[in-house]
């Protein structure tokens, strides 16, 4: 399968099975798009090219086919198997939040539970569970999530210390990350993050009015000014360590490229903006008919992105950072995030779920880190649901970049873990196209 496309006024081809990427001219695009169908020189679009031009381009295409980097057939996959290993935990360290974001999938942080924090004993049991289940994996990940982790920061700190003390004994390397709304972020927290957190994700949605419209405090007040001030202080002290300013765009700010650039104007150089995922009846939900406008926004953003990266406003946009010269192995591309299998979430009561988005759904309890119960029925089901079991995804040219999409979105919105949530598919495809075009234009492979 070969995907050809135009992006940023240039033409490209992606050989899906080999991952080879080419910049091509328009004639070559038309020839590739024939996909073996007979060529009629007398008809559009070929009538405007000379016979020699067409033969030259055909010759180049054939050369790449002979090198097995164009029209590469789909080979046999190294099919992923369930091995029971867990390498990453999302600790929902607090089922409480200082904000009440209108689009929150976790019902304002509570996950439809009573508002409570995770006890130290539960967090420690989660670390023990992870070590015990991780087999020979050395790199283990723990993300402090919520709700708002800063509302239970003492337990976060104690858990990090507890895990660090176990690293040597078990030959493990913990990579901690934290996702925070930054509303209560103080200098002590920042220093702690900079000492211990491999990655920090701070949530800001972009422009003040965009953010304040949907990210109110628990008392219904605006949160933007306080959060921006805290995030900028954090950025100043973070140096070159990994972090992201992560925003959500909704039906109310479909012009989200402005928000990404605004965040860059505010001094941030690592930015991620994600489409909201909500039932279609929600006033903030993105619908199929919004997709063309959103796709155009990625192109607008990509143009400005290239320009700014030549200046002192250089920044990274998460979805434009696709590694087209390398990236992960095939196995990773088939299994994706590993939710429900090698990546699990733990609620404050110790219950284990396939990922943070399943927290509170009684049908999705896998076990409990405190009681030690663990039923591998769901992990086996999730492990089996990979790219090779998703017929619609197998036909898609972007399959090796998204791995068949988010399992939680598939379950929540399509009722089937093997069915892709198509709104995000369209956006993913455009982001991959932009990422390829940007890499080709910047020439920094």
């Amino acid at each position: 399968m070969v995907h050809t496309f135009k992006c940023l006024d240039r033409f490209f081809a992606l050989d899906v099975e080999s991952g080879s990427v080419f910049e091509i001219d328009e004639l070559t695009k038309e020839l590739i798009d024939l996909q073996g169908a007979p060529l009629d020189n007398a008809k559009e679009p070929f009538s405007c090219y000379s016979k020699k031009e067409i033969e030259d381009a055909q010759g180049e295409i054939q050369e790449l086919i002979d090198q097995k980097i164009l029209f590469t057939p789909e080979g046999k996959h190294n099919e992923p198997k369930y091995n029971g290993i867990v390498k990453a935990l999302c600790l929902n360290i607090s089922h409480n939040c200082s904000l009440r974001c209108e689009y929150c999938f976790a019902d304002g942080g509570s996950y439809n539970d009573k508002r409570r924090n995770m006890d130290k004993s539960v967090a420690f049991a989660a670390i023990d569970f992870l070590i015990a289940r991780s087999g020979s994996r050395r790199n283990l990940e723990v993300d402090f999530f919520g709700g708002e982790p800063l509302l239970n920061i003492d337990v976060v700190k104690a858990t990090v210390e507890y895990a660090r003390n176990k690293e040597k004994q078990f030959n493990k390397n913990f990579r901690f990350t934290i996702t925070t709304n930054a509303y209560k972020l103080d200098d002590d927290d920042i220093d702690f993050f900079n000492r211990e957190m491999y990655n920090v994700v701070l949530s800001i949605d972009g422009r003040k009015e965009v953010h304040n419209r949907v990210r109110k405090t628990a008392n219904g007040e605006d949160s933007f000014d306080i959060i921006l001030n805290n995030a900028r202080r954090f950025r100043e002290k973070r140096g070159d360590k990994q972090y992201y300013i992560r925003g959500t765009f909704t039906a109310l700010n479909k012009d989200f490229s402005i928000d990404a650039l605004y965040l860059n104007d505010m001094g941030f150089d690592q930015i991620s903006l994600e489409p909201v995922v909500l039932p279609s009846s929600h006033r903030l939900a993105i619908h199929e008919e919004d997709v063309p406008e959103l796709v155009e926004q990625y192109e607008i953003l990509a143009r400005e992105y290239i320009e700014r990266r030549k200046t002192d406003k250089w920044f990274n946009f998460f979805h434009f950072m696709i590694d087209i010269a390398g990236g992960p192995c095939e196995t990773k591309r088939l299994v994706g995030c590993g939710a429900g299998n090698e990546y699990l979430a733990v609620a404050p009561n110790g219950n284990i779920y396939p990922c943070h988005q399943f927290d509170g759904k009684s049908d999705y309890i896998i076990g409990n880190v405190v009681s030690g119960e663990f039923d591998d029925t769901l992990p086996k089901k999730f492990a089996c649901a990979n790219l090779t079991t998703k017929p619609e995804c197998l036909k898609c040219w972007a399959k090796y970049y998204c791995s068949g999409g988010c399992a939680a979105n598939s379950v929540n919105f399509c009722g089937d873990i093997n069915k892709p949530y198509t709104i995000t598919c369209a956006l993913m495809k455009k982001r991959v196209e932009c990422a390829i075009a940007i890499k080709a234009i910047e020439g920094n492979l």
Binding site: G19, R137, E141
Partner: protein, 55 residues
């Protein structure tokens, strides 16, 4: 070549013995609602690069 410029060649590693699982979970990496794996890095390649640089 006049009509085609090769940007990247055969980038999807299908070798046996891959899938060591040492790389970061994609959902953990930044966004928590996205499944992009294309921008993930291979941990083995990182280790090899560091090893090469230190030699």
């Amino acid at each position: 070549m006049k009509h085609i410029k090769v940007i990247a060649k055969s980038t999807i590693c299908r070798e046996q013995g891959t899938g060591c699982g040492e790389c970061q979970s994609s959902c953990q990496s930044a966004c928590k609602t996205s499944c992009t794996v294309g921008n993930q890095s291979c941990e083995q390649k990182k280790i090899n690069n560091v090893f090469k640089e230190s030699k």
